[in-house]
Symmetry: C2
Subunit: 456 residues, 2 copies
C-alpha cells in the first residue's frame, strides 16, 4: 500500500533526494585504503545526521576500524520492527583513468548518476532514508518501527560486524531484515534474491632469489617467481574451465531440476550481455548455462597479479618475488575455511623447492540460501509490485554479502529480504559505476510501501 | 708492458680516480625513463668533458633519443687505433626500497663502491679514461691512437647506434675494439669473453572485458585476462624447464665437447652461488650444467607481469586486462626476428577467442661468437696478466651486448675484445649494484697496459 499523497511526495522530491545522493556519493569512503579513514568516518556521520533529522535516535559505534551507524525511529507501540542494513563504504575507484567523470564527483547524464558507490551501496541505502522522509512528510509518523544499521566495512569483509551484532543483539531484535545491496533481474524486471555465493579470498606471495637478478647472468639457473606464479595459477583450472583444486567441488549442493528450469525460463539476452561486457564469447564451467555459472556454481578468479618490472620499456631482470590475489565464489554447502585449506595445500604442493610461498587470507564468507516461504517475503513481493509496477522474480545472486550470514548467526534471524533496486549493468566495483534515477525512484517507492506492507 | 712510473702514478691517484667515479655515478642517467632525459644528457657531457681534459677532440652526437659521445686522442702517426666502447646510461634502480644506500648517492664500504651503474658500465668505462690520464701524466703522450665511443642507449637496446655507426664508419676505423661491459670469471680470476647470448624481449598485452568486472556478478562466465596470461606463460615452458615454443631450439648450435670440458674445468663454487642468490636449489634445462645453462644455452624469463588489483586488502574484480614482459636469451645461431615470430605465433594460438592479445617488440639482439685467435686477443691476454697478475681465462657470457653485433655488422670489425674488469657478484641491474675498488684499480692498470701491448 502506498497512498497517493506519499507517492506524489516522492515524485515531487526526487530532485532533492538526488541532490542528497550526490552529496553522499561525493565522500570518498574507500574502506580498504588507510588514507581514506577520515572520509569513511565522514560518510558515517553523514548517514547518522540524515537519520537524526528524521527523528531517529542513534550513534556511531566505534569498531576495530570503521564505525557502525545504528539508529532507531521513534517508537510505534505494537508495530513490527524492520531492521534495515546497508553499507556506506565503497570499493577503491581504480583504474582511475577509465572513469569518464571523476569517481567522487557524481555526474548525472542520460538518466543515471555516475559515481563510485552509486549502486553499491549508497544509492540503495539512501532509498530507505528518503522513504522515511516521504512517509513522515505526509503522515507525520511511520507505520512500523525501523532500525537502521549501516556499516563501513562491507567492502573489506565486514570483519568487525559479527562482534558488533553479538554485542548489540537486544537492540537489533527485529521481525525482518531488509537489505538492498543486490540488483534486479534485468533493467525494469525487479527481483528478490534468495541465494548468494560465498567467498574465499586469498593472497599468494612467492619469493625466489633474494633480490632481482640480471636475466643475462642468471637466466636459466633459478626458479623465476613470476614463472612459478604463472604455473601455479594455470594449474588452478582444468583445461575445460572447471576448478582443479582437489576436493573443491565435494560439498557443492547440486542445483535442483525445478531451479534449473526456472532459471532457463527467466528472460535473458546473452548477446546484449556480451555486448555490455565487451567479449565475443563466454567462458566457464561446461555443463551449465551462463545464468547458472554466474549465480549458482562456484568459480575461481585471479583478481590481481604482480611481479618484476612493469614500467616503460625493457628491464632484463628475474624478479625476486611475484604475487597474486585469487578469490573463489562459493555455493551452498561449501565452507570458506575448508576451501582455504584445500587451496593453500594445493598451491604449496605446486611450488618447487627453490621458492618460498606465503598466503594471506583476505576474506571469508559463507554462501546463503534464504527461506522463500514467509509472510515477510510476501510483504516484500507486494511492496515491490507497488514500487516497480511489476511482480518481482526470485533469483540467485553471484555475489557475496557476508552480513547476511552474520545476521543469521548472530541475530538468529531468518527473515532476510534481499531486495535489489539496482540494475545488473550498474557496474559495481567497475569504473563508471552508476545508478538509474528511475531505479532510485522505484526503490524509494518500494521501501515506503514495504513499511506499510510489513505493518499490515 | 706497464712502466713502474705509470704503475705508481695509478696507485697514487686511486683516491682521485674513485672521486671521479663517484661523481659519474651520482648522475641518474636512466635511459629508459623519459623523466631522466636531462640526466642522461648530463652524463654524456661529463664523459666528453673528461676526455677533452685529456686532450681528446670530440663532440656529442644527437640521435633519436640519447646522444653518442665520440672523441679521439691527439694523433700518434703510425701507431695502431683502438676503439673503446662503453655506455654511460644505466638501468632503472627499482626496487628502491631494497637499496641499503640510495642508488645515485655512491657509498664506499668494505672496499666496494655501491651505486646504480657502478659495474655496468660507468666504472668499467672510466678505467680507460683514468688509464689515459695516468699514461699522459707520466709520459706526456699515448703509445696508440684512441677513439672513445660512449652511448646512452645500451640499456634500452642501442636502438640508434646502428645508424650512428653506419654514418660514421670512416671516423670509427680501428685495428681493434675494446669493450669492458662483462665480468671476470670469478672475483680475482680475470677472463676474456668470447661469446654472448642474444636477446628477444617482448611485451604481451591481453584484454578481455571492456572494464574491470565484479567477480561476484560475472565470475564464471568470462575469460579472465589474468588467468589467460597465466595459462599462456605456463605453456611457454615444458614441465622439465625447457622452452616449449615450437621451433625454438631449431637453430641452436650445439656446444662442442672441448668447450663443455673447458667449462667443467673452470673453478666454480655452486654452494657459494646459491648462497649469493638466496636460493636452495637451481632450476633450468635438464642435461646441462649450471655454467652451460647460464651462458651457453637459450633461456626464457618473465621479467614482469601485472593485471588487476595489487593494492592493500581485497578487491573482488575480474581485471579487464593483464600483461607481461618476457625475454629470451638466445645463443648462436638463433635469430631474434625468427624467435619473435615463433613466440608471437605460439602465444596467439594459446589465447582463447574471448580475449585480444597484442605484442610489442622491445629489444632484439643477436648472439655473438668472437674469434679467439688474433694478435689483438694475445695483446689483451698480456695486458690482463699485467693488470691482474694472472692470465685470463676464456669464457662465454650469458648477457647480451647488442653493440657487439652492430660493430661487427656496421664497421666490419672482427677484432672485438670483451674484457671484463667487474665481478660476477657485482649485481648489475639489481639493488645494491657495486664495483670492487680493487677491480677498478686492476682495470685501470690493464687498460693502460693494453695501450702499450697493442702498440708493440
Amino acid at each position: 500500500m502506498l497512498s497517493d499523497r506519499i507517492s506524489s511526495f516522492i515524485d515531487e522530491h526526487m530532485k532533492a533526494f538526488t541532490g542528497e545522493l550526490a552529496r553522499f556519493l561525493s565522500i570518498p569512503s574507500v574502506s580498504t585504503l588507510g588514507e581514506h579513514a577520515a572520509d569513511v568516518l565522514a560518510a558515517a556521520e553523514w548517514v547518522l545526521r540524515q537519520l537524526k533529522e528524521c527523528g531517529f535516535s542513534g550513534a556511531l559505534y566505534p569498531t576495530g576500524r570503521h564505525p557502525v551507524v545504528l539508529a532507531r525511529s521513534a517508537e510505534v507501540p505494537g508495530a513490527p520492527v524492520l531492521l534495515i542494513y546497508g553499507h556506506y563504504d565503497v570499493q577503491p575507484p581504480d583504474p582511475l583513468d577509465e572513469w569518464l567523470t571523476p569517481p567522487f564527483s557524481p555526474d548525472i547524464r542520460d538518466g543515471y548518476i555516475y559515481a563510485r558507490g552509486a549502486t553499491d551501496d549508497k544509492g540503495q541505502l539512501l532509498t530507505y532514508i528518503n522513504a522515511v522522509q516521504a512517509v513522515l512528510g505526509v503522515n507525520g509518523e511511520l507505520p512500523i518501527n525501523l532500525i537502521v544499521l549501516a556499516e563501513g566495512e562491507e567492502e573489506i569483509g565486514s570483519t568487525n560486524l559479527g562482534k558488533f551484532l553479538a554485542d548489540h543483539r537486544e537492540q537489533l531484535r527485529a521481525d525482518a531484515v531488509a537489505i538492498s545491496d543486490t540488483s534486479q533481474l534485468a533493467p525494469g524486471i525487479p527481483a528478490i534474491t534468495y541465494a548468494l555465493r560465498g567467498l574465499c579470498y586469498l593472497q599468494i606471495d612467492i619469493r625466489g632469489p633474494r633480490f632481482d637478478l640480471h636475466s643475462g647472468c642468471f637466466g636459466g639457473i633459478v626458479h623465476n617467481p613470476a614463472q612459478v606464479l604463472a604455473d601455479v595459477l594455470q594449474k588452478l583450472k582444468n583445461p575445460d574451465g572447471s576448478i582443479a583444486i582437489p576436493g573443491f567441488y565435494d560439498d557443492v549442493l547440486a542445483l535442483e531440476q525445478w531451479e534449473r528450469q526456472q532459471m532457463a525460463a527467466q528472460p535473458s539476452d546473452l548477446d546484449a550481455l556480451k555486448n555490455y561486457l565487451g567479449v565475443c564469447e563466454f567462458a566457464g564451467e561446461p555443463g551449465y548455462t551462463v545464468t547458472e555459472r554466474s549465480t549458482a556454481r562456484p568459480t575461481l578468479d585471479i583478481n590481481g597479479l604482480w611481479g618484476g618490472f612493469s614500467g616503460e620499456g625493457a628491464k632484463t631482470i628475474i624478479p625476486a618475488k611475484a604475487g597474486a590475489k585469487v578469490s573463489m565464489r562459493l555455493v551452498p554447502n561449501q565452507i570458506p575455511e575448508k576451501i582455504d585449506q584445500l587451496f593453500t595445500r594445493f598451491v604449496r604442493q605446486l611450488c618447487p623447492a627453490g621458492v618460498s610461498v606465503e598466503f594471506a587470507g583476505l576474506h571469508h564468507a559463507g554462501p546463503v540460501l534464504v527461506n522463500r516461504n514467509t509472510s515477510a517475503m510476501r510483504a516484500a513481493e507486494r511492496a515491490i509490485e507497488i514500487g516497480f509496477g511489476k511482480k518481482p522474480r526470485f533469483k540467485r545472486d553471484g555475489g557475496s554479502i557476508p552480513v547476511v550470514n552474520l545476521i543469521r548467526e548472530q541475530l538468529e534471524q531468518e527473515n532476510i529480504l534481499l531486495l535489489g533496486w539496482g540494475s545488473p549493468d550498474d557496474g559495481p566495483h567497475s569504473p563508471n559505476e552508476r545508478f538509474s534515477l528511475d531505479d532510485f525512484h522505484r526503490g524509494i517507492r518500494s521501501a515506503a510501501a514495504l513499511f506499510f506492507e510489513l505493518a499490515r
